[in-house]
Symmetry: C2
């Protein structure tokens, strides 16, 4: 074989989301930008805050280019790690050590590195449906058995299914709150319940079970919900973060990993994280954006606009009679398809130029994900199409 | 095991180069910047060309931030790929297709991705000593048997050793010209000889043998040597490139992979490259720097300064009686240690505040690498220390 078949398959069949997005791009060229209601992709529509532009220009004009664009240490620039630590400890009253922060090329890198760092032979990884499809890719590439816990009615944690899935080989669970694709948020009581359950399981199996909290949407949370920072509730935990969504910088690939200082073998895990980064070809996170983050770690884009979108879309679709999960965070709305097969529902929605991602690749059947990180104007224009789609199904009954 | 032991080892024992660099950083704080002759690391000392700064500021001020910092397609922005194609085809009269260019987070990512994309069970990878130590890391992580060809006297290609090393399981060879650590350059006649040899071997084994040309130092080449671009000479080839050295942007992590359009299974390999990028956690190369490259792909830093350094250092050390490999490119000088054990030579040089990397990690014994990407002033000041070191050894004879 002249190439790696598994890698070929991954490259040949892009994600369903990317494929729908590509369709939308072509369709817009035919019928015009405002006539395609493209809810397919989680690309932030809100501009980065002005201070991002100002700080970048300031750094480029005033910092010596050989330093600004030079290698940082592999774990990341120290001043950046200290800024992140201060922000986390201040915001969440957490106990993060900057020597346990590893800067990465975004959340995907954070996850791939963390999963490689933790893996030993026979390990199993648990995810909760619905889940971000790339978890499966990183899991298989690291070597884990990939175990899916069934969804619960509120799209949080189904303990019956978890109890059936967990066993002595379980090494890691990934939680993702606010959730992509459902928008569900694990609140403090949810995290306390999960932590209590897992501490019991750690005792039962007599080894640590790690939680990886994948939280790029951490700041996109509505209605004054308090975000429970995982290391405050569960020792054996790691945080995977990205500034993609909070600062609208998805293309720049900047994020981090935090290893809880209280985790079992915390020092060794941190070194394994650095080693996994090295093995996967990461040298350091992009240096200009590291220095940016040192200055703007407390800032976010104007998230109130996503709330406006959520409220308008949720209320309008509810009124039309659609069945929806009320999203507490992120910029996704999870909607029940009007037929059991979400893929054929997606195809019929497409005929109304509504681009919705079927839930199948998220490990759940019969739903679609609506990414409302788009302009409010587009959302308003799209309601007519949602209405026609609903009527079409109603008329068939 | 609560973490991955192999990854832990990689993280716990950083590269010898990084460790020496860290020593230098601490030593400078004690004796002052100008009193440590730190030749340990390949961090470009020449500023990026002014147009880099101007273009970055211009992009940040004038391009919509949601586009500038947004996701590009996974293979990279099309205009950037077209610029790279045009530059390669114009400079080398090559036949590169922009649909066979995949933008990466630098050369390390290019190599890790490419090796993963090509690997099948039982495959072997050949490297030529001296070689960049991280090749071993990426090789093992992909699964290859790592096979080292002995050095030849001119640090180019030892065909006797190659003939002993190559076999039916050989899938890939990595060439690295200009070479890190020796500075040796494979000239056109060298590449023709290698291509002829490998074509014969492909016939003999009846399957493709790929050359990966790792060429981040491609533009740092002296004395009007013509650079032979590999795809012009050998069909089954891939290029791994980075702008780290040519534009002095090592921290920004921007580079690319070219899959030769004439390679056996070229289309499948390109898809496997995209798949491997996905599996290793790469989403896209940093977007701002992609757009930068689209504008400045023909530029380089002022490389004449490295030539000045090379000439001064080579001539001075030659005069002192050191045995040296004359470097045609890159910014490294390979010098014979004054005793058989390069590590103990390195330790004695350290006492003169001369930081030289022993050749052992490059797969060769008895040499040190001198990275002369430093100020000419530092080089001039260091000569006294080199003189004292030489005299110390001479007096022991």
């Amino acid at each position: 074989m002249s190439y790696n078949k598994e890698m070929f398959e991954l490259g040949n069949h892009g994600s369903a989301i990317r494929e729908l997005y590509e369709y939308g791009r072509k369709r817009r060229q035919i019928v015009g930008d405002m006539n395609v209601y493209d809810f397919s992709i989680g690309n932030p529509s809100i501009e980065s805050p002005k201070i991002v532009e100002e700080t970048l220009v300031n750094l480029i004009k005033n910092k010596k280019s050989t330093v600004l664009h030079g290698y940082t240490s592999a774990v990341g620039d120290e001043s950046t790690r200290i800024s992140i630590k201060n922000q986390l400890n201040k915001t969440y009253n957490a106990n993060v050590d900057h020597n346990k922060i590893y800067l990465t090329c975004g959340a995907a890198a954070s996850l791939a590195i963390t999963l490689n760092a933790l893996y030993s032979t026979h390990d199993e990884l648990i995810v909760f449906a619905p889940f971000f499809p790339e978890y499966r890719v990183y899991s298989l590439n690291s070597g884990y058995k990939f175990v899916i816990v069934d969804p619960s009615p509120d799209f949080k944690i189904n303990y019956e299914s978890l109890e059936r899935s967990i066993n002595k080989n379980t090494k890691v669970l990934i939680i993702n709150s606010p959730n992509n694709p459902s928008g569900a948020v694990l609140k403090e009581e949810d995290i306390i319940k999960l932590a209590t359950y897992l501490k019991k399981k750690e005792k039962e199996f007599n080894h640590p079970i790690y939680i990886i909290s994948d939280e790029p949407y951490r700041e996109i949370i509505y209605d004054d919900i308090k975000y429970p920072f995982i290391t405050n509730y569960y020792d054996d935990s790691l945080v995977c973060y990205s500034f993609s969504k909070s600062l609208s910088l998805p293309g720049e690939r900047i994020g981090y990993i935090v290893v809880s200082s209280n985790a079992k073998d915390s020092d060794e895990i941190f070194k394994a994280v650095a080693g996994a980064g090295r093995a996967l070809g990461y040298v350091c996170a992009p240096s200009l954006f590291q220095y940016l983050i040192a200055n703007v770690v407390e800032e976010t884009s104007d998230i109130s606009k996503y709330k406006e979108n959520r409220d308008y879309l949720y209320n309008s679709l509810k009124e039309l009679g659609y069945e929806l999960i009320y999203p507490d965070g992120a910029f996704y709305l999870f909607m029940k398809a009007l037929e059991p097969n979400a893929i054929s529902f997606m195809e019929r929605a497409k005929k109304h130029d509504l681009l919705l991602v079927p839930s199948d690749s998220f490990g759940v059947k019969g739903y679609v994900r609506i990414a409302y990180c788009v302009s409010l104007e587009m959302i308003k224009n799209s309601i007519k199409a949602f209405k026609e789609l609903k009527e079409e199904y109603d008329n068939e009954k």
